[in-house]
């Protein structure tokens, strides 16, 4: 494989967006969690909930900040590295991004300040209102971005004039039918991801016997939420699969490893796709499985990869395995959530040591499933950047390979050090420090900001 500007740009984009996605996903989930906890606190006035809010707000702030700054890199890369793409479809995706910034981004950034620094400066109700706005902002923000991505998967509502995409119907684009299951799939993934982190951190406190009151509430809530969220996610995931099969049959073929068009295609549990010879080397499958899942009919027809030239096929092996890893993690998650329910039923949820350890270890599960899901969606779309319309190769900018090497090198260093090492360092530091004991005299102390006027001297 020759390293060219387009390939290196893809690697750079893939690298930066893989880091970026972690932060919004985690903060979308955390924001929702904070809104629920603050609501319970307002209702019950139980100080444990306040300490839950204060602690997780710290984690939220750190994560949200990362999301904002890594998002700026994403935005400008669309121009620096993907000029061909921008020139053609800027008029379609640009307005969506602009609406996102105007309706969601500013709201989040503005009210985050209130959420973080104004526990004492505004009334509890006003503070809760700010929290809800931040939740609303993150939810809406995800919708705009998913809408843009869905358009790349399933472009609708446009006509082309001299290679430039002009919009006919904003309604079709914003309420793209293909987008709804994908959006809910993503939101649930974000909630699940955050829940696993919450379960992990509170499991750690339970194991260490620290901050027990705080940890029990978080632990119990997170596992209960997961028990509801994960089965729901299976249904939404299934709906997403149907939508993918409708609009991108070749992606479905890659996911299922189907080379020849067939009715009643088997669900391959394992196989080694061999793209060169256009077949699978080794297959273990359940008869009719893939057709049943993707069409909801035993004898449903799945279009084979061979119906398009090899140049129009995605990298089958990558799509095939990332999808299986995602589903595998999903099943593991479901088992864990069922175990939690069983322990709760037996009244052993807070003192089963193996389960606390399992909870601690499960922190990355959500992130991993999220990554694999996105890799399946995005690599499965290749070689197109806009499905069946613009090839990724044609979308790259005319920039020097050397420049992309410089930028990618810089990005690897900065991201590697900053996110890879220090984000986790400070995150674990915050976690080790914990929420503080409940009887602490003045929990407002850290939020002292601009007290009465007195000179420094």
């Amino acid at each position: 494989m020759i390293l060219d500007t387009a390939l290196l740009s893809r690697m750079q984009f893939g690298f930066t967006i893989s880091f970026h996605i972690l932060f919004p996903a985690f903060s979308i989930g955390l924001a929702m969690f904070l809104a629920i906890m603050e609501g319970i606190w307002l209702k019950t006035q139980n100080p444990v909930y306040k300490s839950i809010c204060l602690f997780w707000t710290k984690v939220f702030a750190l994560t949200f900040g990362m999301g904002v700054v890594s998002g700026i890199v994403m935005e400008f890369q669309l121009g620096t590295n993907w000029a061909g793409f921008t020139k053609a479809i800027g008029g379609v995706l640009g307005p969506l991004f602009t609406w996102e910034v105007m309706t969601a981004f500013f709201i989040e950034a503005g009210f985050l300040g209130v959420m973080l620094f104004c526990w004492d400066k505004v009334s509890p109700r006003m503070h809760y209102f700010a929290t809800l706005l931040v939740v609303g902002g993150t939810t809406l923000s995800a919708y705009w971005i998913l809408t843009a991505n869905t358009w790349m998967q399933h472009p609708v509502g446009f006509h082309i004039v001299d290679g430039i995409y002009k919009v006919d119907s904003w309604y079709d684009i914003i309420f793209n039918r293909a987008g709804f299951p994908r959006y809910f799939h993503m939101m649930l993934a974000a909630y699940i991801t955050a829940s696993f982190v919450i379960a992990s951190v509170s499991g750690f406190y339970l194991l260490k016997g620290k901050f027990t009151e705080f940890a029990k509430k978080c632990f119990s809530f997170a596992w209960l939420a997961l028990f509801i969220l994960i089965p729901t996610q299976l249904f939404v995931g299934d709906a997403t699969g149907l939508e993918v099969h409708n609009n991108q049959p070749i992606k479905t073929a890659a996911i299922e490893g189907v080379w020849d068009t067939q009715a009643g295609a088997p669900l391959l549990l394992f196989a080694i796709p061999d793209q060169k010879n256009q077949k699978n080397l080794f297959e273990i499958g359940i008869p009719y499985g893939a057709s049943l899942i993707n069409t909801h009919k035993l004898n449903g027809v799945l279009q084979g990869l061979k119906t398009v030239p090899p140049a129009d096929q995605p990298k089958v092996a990558v799509v095939f395995f990332t999808f299986r890893i995602m589903v595998g993690i999903g099943i593991l998650m479901l088992l864990l959530a069922c175990a939690a329910m069983y322990l709760r039923y037996k009244n052993r949820l807070y003192d089963t040591r193996w389960f606390q350890k399992a909870s601690i270890a499960s922190a990355p599960l959500g992130f991993m499933a999220l990554w694999c899901g996105w890799l399946t969606a995005e690599i499965g779309r290749q070689p197109w950047i806009v499905y069946n319309h613009i090839r990724t190769l044609d979308a790259a900018s005319d920039v020097a390979l050397r420049d992309v090497m410089i930028s990618f090198g810089l990005i690897i260093i900065v991201y590697g050090i900053v996110f890879g090492v220090f984000y986790f360092y400070f995150l674990t530091k915050t976690i080790r420090h914990g929420p503080g004991e409940l009887d602490e005299k003045d929990p407002h102390q850290p939020f002292l900001y601009m007290p009465s006027k007195h000179d420094e001297e």
């Binding site: 904002v68 700026i72 000029a83 503005g110 209130v114």
Partner: protein
């Protein structure tokens, strides 16, 4: 169509100047942080921007997104040509934003994060100066083979602009500190501002004399006898603002220097727009040529008309909530 394109040109210009002013003082404080030796004072200086920096950055994101949607041709022409400065800028902003959060949480490694914070701030500003320089000088649209050989943004005028922007942002930053702080830190800020203003005057004069010689079109526009009496108002206003700035610093006014600095930025920015109008990729593509489809511009404009007043109102409101002196570092 012309109306739509012009509206978007103005909205983006407005977004950019808001970013320059708001992001400017917070980047400026990042640069100045290296001059503030006392750790406690440094914490206070950083605390003055902590609640607002997120919102300030958002104007850059807005400008980028709006340019992407309203003038895709400009976005896709400018960014690859400015590849290195743009990426250095966004990576520096990312690095800076993160060190911002980290230095709050660090204890032993705080000194290292302080340096990182300074470095992220100043590199972002230098990159912005290089981009600004290219905008004034005009882009050189080269074919690909030439692009591999040299960088169009790498020139002495660009560095002149970088120096000007570093000094200008620092002035905004130190004037902001004058408003927000008391005691020794405020005194230090007064001293820094007093020094900076002379350096900035020099830069202003240098850029004003230099830029007409860069491009005959700029010269023709500014020295056209029909426009000259009107255009002369701009440099004269700048000089007036400078004098009042100098005076208010001497008199130890707290609020006036900041607004004078903002005024100077505004006059320079208007001058910049007069120099490049109607080009969005100077000397090659006008804003009309780069505009995207009618339906895109309309759809965006609906959003802007509804949302921008709301955004401005609560940007103003959030500054109001956090008004007053900062005397203790904040944490969360």
């Amino acid at each position: 169509m012309e109306f739509l394109a012009l509206s978007w040109g103005l909205i983006i210009a407005f977004g950019v100047i808001l970013y320059v002013l708001l992001g400017g003082f917070d980047l400026g404080i990042g640069i100045l942080s290296i001059l503030i030796r006392d750790p406690h004072q440094k914490d206070i200086a950083v605390s003055t921007i902590l609640p607002v920096w997120d919102g300030n950055q958002t104007w850059l994101v807005f400008g980028g997104a709006a340019l992407y949607g309203a003038f895709p041709l400009a976005f896709s022409t400018i960014l690859p040509l400015m590849y290195i400065p743009i990426l250095v800028m966004v990576i520096s902003l990312l690095f800076r934003g993160i060190t911002f959060e980290f230095r709050l949480k660090a204890e032993r490694s705080k000194a290292a994060w302080d340096i990182a914070y300074f470095a992220g701030s100043i590199f972002a500003v230098i990159a912005q100066g290089l981009i600004l320089g290219t905008f004034i000088k005009g882009f050189t649209l080269l074919d690909l083979s030439n692009l591999h050989v040299f960088y169009p943004w790498l020139n002495s005028f660009g560095f002149m602009c970088s120096i000007g922007l570093v000094l200008g942002y620092s002035l905004l930053g130190s004037n902001y500190l004058i408003i927000k702080t008391t005691g020794k830190l405020q005194e230090l800020s007064y001293k820094i501002s007093s020094c900076l203003q002379y350096l900035i005057l020099l830069c202003f004069i240098a850029v004003s004399i230099w830029s007409p010689y860069l491009d005959p079109a700029i010269k023709a526009r500014w020295f056209n006898p029909d426009y000259m009496p009107f255009l002369a108002i701009l440099p004269l206003t700048t000089v007036g603002l400078f004098i009042y700035h100098w005076y208010s610093l001497r008199k130890r006014h707290e609020i006036a220097p900041f607004w004078c600095a903002i005024g100077m930025f505004l006059t320079c920015y208007i001058g910049f727009i007069i120099s490049i109008y109607p080009y969005i990729v100077p000397r090659h593509i006008t804003y009309l040529e780069a505009a995207s489809g009618k339906s895109s511009l309309q759809f965006m404009l609906v959003g802007a008309v509804i949302m921008l007043p709301v955004l401005l109102f609560y940007t103003f409101h959030s500054y109001r909530i956090f008004r007053g002196k900062v005397t203790e570092p904040i944490k969360y």
